[in-house]
């Protein structure tokens, strides 16, 4: 094998490392605001990701360096022949134990994060007490049911519940919890900016909590191939101040019980989102 091939095999790991390092600068990294997650939990998940990325990068660069070194030596020394050996007990132990230790470390290290993210016992108490909405995924949209102002969300629909579609408003500055359902097939509730992802399964009601660390409009997409319109299944999660959120609910109440007369008559045919525009 010529030296050209050595350079060829050297080029790819270098290109991989360089593009990886540059990714955040050119916007190829995590979505939103310079790759910074929009929730505190998300930032912790990112930390875990970077840790794993670091470990795998060290292993990758190390093995590639050894590979290139071996190729280079082989190509510059035609006299030395390779020898065949059958196994090396010491080596086997090393490359079993080291990854084992790393994996065990990662498994233990992430347990708290996993518990905070997924186990209801560890959810913020306030969020669990008052789920803000029931989110129903269906082909190909997201439907939301809020309890009436001042009331708690009930598992079954109530006569004064508030409804909206493809636009979930949540208050800022506190953890919120939703009850996730699916009406038809398997969907996945995915807030890329907040690093929240949870499958929605027909017949189950799954609690999901999140807390955005800044106000804004975030994408809610479906992360499970749920049918031909999967890519269209997109909604907005609007994180706003408590006052704005209450205002939104008030507006929604007004619209929902609108009888064709009275105050909101002027824009009665407008969609809900328009009527609540500030």
């Amino acid at each position: 094998m010529g030296k050209g091939w050595c350079l060829f095999f050297l080029f790819w790991p270098v290109a991989a490392v360089v593009s990886c390092a540059m990714a955040p600068m050119v916007g190829w990294s995590f979505p939103y605001d310079n790759a910074q997650a929009a929730s505190n939990l998300g930032i912790r998940i990112d930390g875990l990701f970077y840790l794993i990325l670091f470990v795998t990068a060290v292993v990758f660069v190390g093995t590639q360096a050894v590979l290139v070194y071996a190729l280079w030596r082989g190509s510059s020394n035609r006299d030395e022949r390779a020898t065949y050996t059958h196994g090396n007990h010491k080596l086997e132990l090393i490359w079993s134990i080291i990854p084992g230790v790393i994996l065990l470390f990662l498994a233990l290290y992430q347990m708290n994060l996993w518990a905070d993210f997924r186990i209801k016992k560890y959810f913020p108490e306030a969020a669990v007490k008052a789920p803000i909405a029931e989110v129903t995924a269906r082909q190909f949209e997201w439907r939301f049911r809020y309890p009436a102002i001042g009331k708690e969300l009930q598992p079954k629909p109530q006569s004064d519940d508030l409804y909206s579609v493809n636009e979930l408003h949540v208050p800022f500055g506190k953890p919120v919890m939703i009850q996730l359902r699916s009406e038809d097939v398997q969907h996945s509730f995915f807030l890329p900016a907040l690093r929240i992802k949870q499958d929605a399964l027909p017949g189950l009601q799954i609690p999901v909590w999140f807390e955005a660390n800044k106000e804004g409009v975030y994408d809610l997409v479906c992360a499970e191939l749920c049918g031909w319109g999967h890519y269209k299944m997109k909604a907005h999660v609007i994180v706003e101040s408590e006052a704005d959120y209450q205002n939104y609910l008030k507006n929604l109440t007004q619209q929902q019980f609108y009888d064709g007369l009275g105050k909101i008559a002027a824009n009665e045919n407008d969609s809900e989102s328009e009527a609540t525009e500030k």
């Binding site: 082909q139 190909f140 949209e141 439907r143 629909p157 109530q158 006569s159 409804y163 579609v165 493809n166 636009e167 031909w228 319109g229 269209k232 299944m233 997109k234 909604a235 907005h236 619209q255 929902q256 019980f257 609108y258 009888d259 064709g260 007369l261 009275g262 009665e268 045919n269 407008d270 969609s271 809900e272 989102s273 328009e274």
Partner: protein, 450 residues
């Protein structure tokens, strides 16, 4: 092991198998079944007239008098870029297209002043950012700063592009409701060509308002496959609705002119007329048809288009909307009880279809109904809509309101009925108070213990 011929052929067949799922949708406006049932001598002028009036999906034609927005834009030449001798295009910067649909590419541009006045150039390049247009270089086209031009139909093109992207898959290229996905959907996607939409805010005989259709696009229809398109901008939604209304008008115009011809010149009727019993010769019938086409057809076409256009225009007037005279009667047990009595009573006969308990299983669902269009009995028991689909009456306990869950929406369903379905309009027979009592009763059903 050798890689045998059979394995090779299997491998080659693989892409074929994978591609069979990717069927291409219909790319032209389709004509209705009834049009195709006319004798060719009658069908041909109908089809030609439709193409003349409405064009095809790639080249939409505009004609005056429709209530849809074609979006003609006028612009003028700002500067002309000097082009080298071999260049086949003339590029010039324009003014006045700031609000135009960004994709003017391929559209005809008519020169309204200057040397090329009256000439039409096709837009070969268009840069929205810089406002630069390029057209073919010819002897007559010599744009000078200040020359004015007109680009037609940009709004409709915008709507068409969005429609083809978001709606066509179910509703079909010409709004006939048979897009590639339609066969998997129940209820099936709406066929727009009758110009009838179920959920409107308008009076029983009126068409839908643009605002009603915009609301449907934005909110979706709960309980059906029509999803919400809330993330589209208001402008996009209104462009889609503009195009949908245009497709409706096209379909309805076709229906009207074909209905005129059908009783005399369908293949079946002509066969009967020229049979031994009919006693007419084919030449006579064709002569009569030719005469009709020359003398009456232009008027029929004109009348069909203008009456359809007028109906759409009227629907968008303020007084077309159903507005209750009295506000909602308070939702009390007494009001619900009054509503329940009305529901079960002879005055409304709600229970006949929706069932005594509102489960959607009234006695009417067991009858064989007559198709009002053909006067023949449907092959299946139960109610049907005018699109020929079997239509179970709504189970009122499910809490799913396709036409919207606001009290006013339910009120309007009762006042105007549901267009295109057997749900009748109670706006006349029932007073406002009675309608509200019914609304209160019906809206309480999903939460009742019964």
């Amino acid at each position: 092991m050798r890689f045998g011929l059979s394995r090779l052929s299997l491998l080659l067949l693989f892409p074929l198998f994978s591609l069979t799922g990717c069927e291409q949708p219909q790319v032209n406006f389709v004509f209705s079944e009834k049009t195709n049932e006319l004798v060719p001598e009658a069908a041909k002028p109908v089809k030609e007239a439709l193409v003349r009036q409405f064009g095809n999906p790639f080249e939409l034609t505009q004609f005056e008098g429709l209530p849809t927005d074609f979006g003609d834009v006028e612009g003028s030449v700002k500067t002309v870029q000097a082009s080298s001798g071999e260049e086949k295009l003339i590029r010039f910067q324009v003014e006045g297209l700031q609000d135009a649909y960004p994709k003017l590419l391929g559209l005809p541009l008519e020169w309204t002043s200057g040397k090329g006045q009256g000439q039409i150039s096709r837009i070969k390049e268009y840069n929205y950012e810089t406002g630069t247009i390029a057209v073919d270089k010819t002897a007559d086209i010599d744009p000078q700063p200040g020359d004015t031009f007109l680009v037609e139909c940009t709004r409709l093109q915008f709507g068409r592009d969005l429609y083809n992207r978001h709606c066509m898959h179910c509703h079909g290229m010409s709004g006939e409701g048979t897009g590639p996905t339609s066969r998997y959907l129940n209820p099936p996607p709406r066929d727009f060509r009758q110009g009838i939409y179920k959920y409107t805010s308008t009076k029983p005989t009126a068409k839908a308002q643009n605002a009603d259709l915009e609301r449907t696009v934005k909110e979706g229809i709960a309980g059906t496959y029509m999803p919400s398109f809330k993330l589209l901008t208001d402008d996009e939604v209104s462009a889609i609705v503009n195009y949908v209304v245009w497709l409706s008008i096209r379909g309805e115009t076709e229906k009207k002119i074909v209905d005129e011809l059908f009783f005399d010149y369908s293949k079946k009727v002509v066969a009967e007329r020229t049979s031994e019993d009919g006693g007419e010769s084919r030449e006579d019938v064709m002569e009569e048809l030719k005469e009709y086409m020359e003398l009456d057809f232009p008027d029929t076409l004109e009348f069909a288009t203008s009456s359809v256009a007028e109906a759409w225009e009227e629907a968008n007037m303020e007084d077309a909307v159903v507005v209750p005279e009295t506000p909602r009667v308070p939702d009390t047990p007494e009001s619900r009880e009054r509503g329940r009595k009305l529901y079960l009573g002879d005055k409304t006969k709600c229970a006949t279809c929706h069932g005594p308990q509102g489960r959607g299983n009234g006695t009417a669902t067991q009858d064989f109904w007559t198709n009002p269009a053909t006067n023949e009995k449907y092959p299946n028991r139960g109610l049907h809509d005018i699109w020929g689909n079997q239509l179970p009456p709504r189970d009122l306990h499910r809490g799913i309101y396709r036409g919207g869950r606001r009290p006013i929406d339910v009120y309007r369903r009762m006042y105007s009925g549901i267009k295109g379905t057997p749900m009748p309009a109670f706006g006349g027979p029932l007073s406002d108070e009675e309608l509200w009592d019914l609304v209160n009763y019906v809206m309480s059903l999903p939460y009742s213990s019964k």
